[in-house]
């Protein structure tokens, strides 16, 4: 069972360039056509489950708009705690 991850998109920075959208290996990011950022762009967001927290979206993001988290598998978790 794959690790579970998620991203936070900071609307202050995101410009809806879609580079993360096309870079995401799991294809789980897309633009949110319902909302506009303060600068007037449609921001990226996680459309569905499946994010593994691989961080590739953050790697390609020109605006450093992304924060990426990952759920720590139990074994690792102990290590962490």
């Amino acid at each position: 069972m794959p690790v579970k991850g998620w991203i936070e998109v900071n609307p202050l920075y995101c410009k809806g360039c879609e580079l993360c959208v096309s870079a995401c290996p799991q294809d789980v990011i897309s633009l949110d056509m319902e909302h506009l950022t303060p600068k007037g762009y449609h921001p990226a967001y996680l459309v569905m489950d499946g994010c593994t927290g691989c961080g590739i979206c953050a790697l390609v993001c020109p605006e450093a708009a992304l924060t990426v988290y990952r759920e720590v598998p139990q074994r690792a978790a102990r290590a962490v705690v």
């Binding site: 020109p62 605006e63 708009a65 720590v72």
Partner: protein
């Protein structure tokens, strides 16, 4: 009560970036270059001893986006300005961030001499094959046949000259310690670019001479492409003309382990 799986932070915005949103066009990889430099400053923990020199070009406001001391140079003169700073503050980390018009056109004399002097500075050179800020005129790095607003029929190398490969040219100078070309068009290359930027700064802090990382970068706006198409264009058209290689890694630099 329910057990909550502990979570781990995979990536967050680097500290060395200020919290000012950039003015770059959506998808412009200037932003990626900024981020990578900031990550390296964080990792090397030198933000507080770093002084950046911004160029004249789309990255003219770079000083707003980094959380370190910064100065703004005249068009093309960033290496001279950086030299002035580094010579009086040799223990600070000094870097310039320059576009291809700034560095390879009007600033040619200053970059060549900074390299020849072995100035202990790091140069982040953004090669996007065009003048972005002024609206898409031909740059020295514009590809043969490429249409720009000042080469409307496409760059005719016979009349307008051949693309200048700065990394190749500068690497012939004895003062250079580390000169490489990387690209920002996909995750793999972005990772390699970051490694190179790290090595360039390490070269400087060790006093091993002039270091430069040339980065193939996109200008969706003036290329008239979507951000994604622009990345493809780098891969398909720029990389063949501007090979991604190490052009100068002095023996001392080759030994650096990070």
């Amino acid at each position: 009560m329910v057990a909550i799986a502990p979570t781990q932070l995979v990536y967050q915005r680097p500290e060395s970036l200020s919290d000012t949103p950039t003015h770059y066009c959506p998808g412009c990889t200037h932003g990626v270059a900024h981020r990578l430099v900031a990550e390296v400053l964080d990792e090397m923990n030198v933000r507080e001893s770093t002084i950046g020199v911004a160029p004249v070009g789309c990255s003219v406001f770079a000083y707003n986006y980094f959380d370190c001391d910064f100065v703004e140079a005249a068009h093309g003169r960033a290496p001279a300005m950086a030299t002035g700073i580094k010579r009086v503050l040799p223990d600070r980390v000094v870097f310039t961030y320059q576009g291809d018009g700034d560095l390879a056109s009007i600033g040619m004399a200053e970059i060549v001499h900074a390299a020849a002097r072995g100035e202990n500075i790091t140069v982040v050179f953004i090669n996007n094959a065009i003048y972005g800020m002024t609206g898409g005129q031909m740059a020295p790095t514009t590809l043969p046949g490429q249409k720009t607003t000042s080469s409307p029929g496409g760059r005719d190398v016979e009349q307008m000259g051949f693309p200048i490969r700065m990394s190749e040219m500068l690497s012939s100078l004895d003062g250079t310690g580390y000169v490489v070309r990387r690209s920002l068009h996909d995750p793999k290359n972005i990772r390699l670019a970051k490694k190179a930027i790290r090595l360039a700064f390490e070269t400087q802090v060790r006093g091993l001479g002039f270091s430069m990382v040339e980065l193939l970068s996109s200008c969706p706006t003036n290329w008239g492409l979507t951000p994604l198409e622009a990345l493809r264009w780098i891969e398909d058209h720029m990389v063949p003309v501007y090979p991604l290689q190490d052009f100068k890694v002095s023996p001392a630099v080759a030994e650096i382990r990070v």
